[in-house]
């Protein structure tokens, strides 16, 4: 029972970690919380549903195509909504409100075109489970955990060993100096948004497999945001660990206490961590730009 709980927790936690990394990438370079990320994840779930269920591609290909499409959508989002504000160097609150506006637009666009129906993915995973030490472990948990790990490793390699990745890290630590050294800041930001869109797409497909697809599923991503804050906004290891902690705690609370109080636990955890470590577990000291 305990092993099963832990594996489920890790499965959910790794999806939270994927989503939290999307928030974290954007926060680290632009210093604002991109609340449109939740809507991107929702779109990812819909696109994945289109490929997986309607067109009938295999799981692997629908995951990759979804990731690319949400990446492009994320770039469009940045180009239309944030770039003008960025060029005026508006305070981060304006970007946050714009992001919320974008998420309202996308959510209701889906409402008015696709409708508020709930869709479920084809049941590739639901009947598949393996038994280890007399506890049943769902295949979806194992899949989501390993895909997340692979994504995280790939991101790590990209950021540390590719030219673009190094430029992005330079842009994170000092945008002005990085542009003086010849890095095109707009291109950097475009790539960061592309990366965060890719993570949104993958997370969206897994969310669709685990739950259902519906316009308000972006709400669940609030928890991923909490995970990012717990780990420290702007810190990638923090996002991963925050996501895993949150997933495990939620599963333990809903198995051993009650699933009703699960959300109270996660929100109280958020407040507690912010009280004792105001920058999150791995937060980097950032100048507060108001």
């Amino acid at each position: 029972m305990f092993l099963q709980t832990m594996v489920t927790g890790l499965g959910i936690g790794s999806i939270y970690a994927l989503m939290a990394m999307g928030y974290c990438l954007v926060f680290s370079i632009l210093n604002f919380s991109n609340f449109a990320h939740g809507a991107m994840i929702m779109l990812g779930a819909y696109v994945g549903f289109l490929f997986c269920s309607i067109i009938g591609l295999s799981f692997f290909w629908s995951l990759i195509l979804t990731a690319i499409i949400t990446g492009i959508l994320s770039i469009i989002n940045e180009r239309l909504a944030y770039r003008t504000l960025r060029e005026k160097s508006a305070p981060s609150l304006y970007l946050i409100i714009t992001a919320m506006g974008v998420s309202i637009i996308l959510e209701n666009l889906v409402y008015s075109t696709i409708g508020s129906n709930f869709y479920s993915y084809p049941k590739i995973f639901s009947r598949n489970y393996i038994e280890i030490f007399s506890s049943t472990i769902g295949l979806i948990d194992i899949y989501s955990f390993f895909v997340s790990i692979i994504c995280i490793i790939l991101l790590h390699l990209f950021l540390n060993y590719s030219k673009m990745g190094i430029a992005i890290r330079a842009g994170v630590s000092d945008p002005v100096a990085a542009s003086l050294m010849g890095a095109n800041f707009n291109v950097l930001i475009r790539n960061v948004f592309f990366l965060s869109g890719i993570f949104a797409g993958i997370a969206g497909v897994f969310m669709g497999f685990r739950y259902m697809v519906y316009p308000q599923m972006g709400w669940i991503t609030n928890k991923a945001y909490i995970a990012a804050v717990i780990g420290g906004l702007g810190s990638l290891p923090g996002a991963i660990i925050g996501g895993l902690i949150l997933g495990i705690i939620e599963t333990i609370v809903s198995v051993y206490i009650s699933s009703v109080v699960r959300d109270v636990f996660s929100f109280s955890l958020l407040i507690l961590i912010l009280l004792f470590k105001p920058l999150g577990l791995f937060g980097v000291k950032l100048e507060d730009k108001m």
């Binding site: 909504a81 946050i96 974008v102 998420s103 637009i105 909490i226 929100f267 407040i271 912010l274």
Partner: protein, 292 residues
């Protein structure tokens, strides 16, 4: 006419909450995604008093808003004392708001997610107008007082303000308390207008809408947010024929305002009778020029 009246009352109830938020966000420069929680606390506080204990309406309103203020003192002490960055403070309050909603869904006296039906309906047009005028007058005098000037100093440059001897924590704490009082009052009015409340009415969306009214109306202005609130309630009604698409318009309006007019509708200015007179004078001068 009845339809128009309903929209007017709903907008005016929002205005009371927005005035509170203006003091916190517009004048002190702090953000919150959790003020719907104070509306909820005010609404439930006042409604439980009139519903179960048969308190008079006005007393229940005052006590409900006091309850919201009290809770704000409890949650504000650690969060504001912690000197969180503005993003983090907004997020901590988001967590607080969601936690309050989940707690309301599980308490016995609030009857959980089913909500409280059959609250006495006492909030009529004169009541809401009186409440709104009181709120506006209090806010106006507060903003022009010593405390209001301190808030503006904190917003403009916290470090410089502290050097000049402005107590940072006290100023922020006080402004948080006042904003919670106004939100609680607005909640009490809401409960006694609809006659029915449930936790699902007080979500993050409502907090966002209040914050958006303040930001679109103009940070540092009192009249701007009030006008923006009325626009945000009335314009979706005009687009009623567009059904679900109107929320898409609402989101687009928000984004476009931020992109093209980031200082909000009014910026730092206020509408007063003097400024109306100036506008009138300029218009008539223009008119004379065209005629002659």
């Amino acid at each position: 006419m009845e339809y128009f009246k309903t929209i007017f009352i709903v907008a005016s109830i929002n205005v009371v909450a927005v005035i509170g938020m203006t003091i916190f966000t517009g004048f002190t420069g702090l953000f919150s995604f959790g003020h719907a929680a104070f509306i909820a606390i005010g609404a439930y506080g006042a409604a439980i008093l009139t519903y179960f204990y048969h308190f008079p309406f006005v007393l229940a309103l005052v006590l409900g808003s006091m309850l919201a203020g009290l809770v704000s003192l409890l949650i504000g002490y650690p969060t504001i004392k912690g000197n969180l960055g503005s993003d983090y403070l907004a997020v901590a309050l988001l967590g607080f708001g969601e936690a309050v909603r989940v707690i309301l869904e599980n308490l016995k006296i609030t009857q959980g997610a089913r909500g409280l039906p059959g609250i006495r309906i006492c909030c009529t047009v004169p009541v809401i107008i009186i409440a709104m005028i009181i709120a506006i007058l209090v806010a106006k005098h507060l903003v022009l007082s010593k405390y209001g000037r301190r808030m503006v100093e904190v917003r403009e440059d916290a470090v410089a303000a502290e050097m000049l001897g402005v107590p940072l924590f006290k100023t922020k704490y006080f402004s948080f308390f006042i904003s919670a009082l106004f939100c609680g009052l607005s909640g009490g009015l809401l409960a006694h207008y609809y006659g029915f409340i449930q936790p699902a009415m007080f979500t993050l969306d409502q907090s966002t809408q209040i914050l958006a009214s303040v930001v679109c109306g103009g940070i540092g202005s009192l009249t701007g947010p009030i006008i923006a609130t009325y626009i945000f309630v009335f314009v979706p009604e005009i687009f009623r024929f567009a059904k679900l698409w109107r929320l898409v318009f609402y989101g687009s309006a928000l984004v476009l305002t931020m992109i093209f007019r980031p200082s909000g509708l009014m910026g730092y200015r206020e509408i007063s009778f003097n400024s109306l007179a100036t506008i009138h004078k300029q218009l008539s001068r223009l008119f004379n020029k065209i005629v002659s």
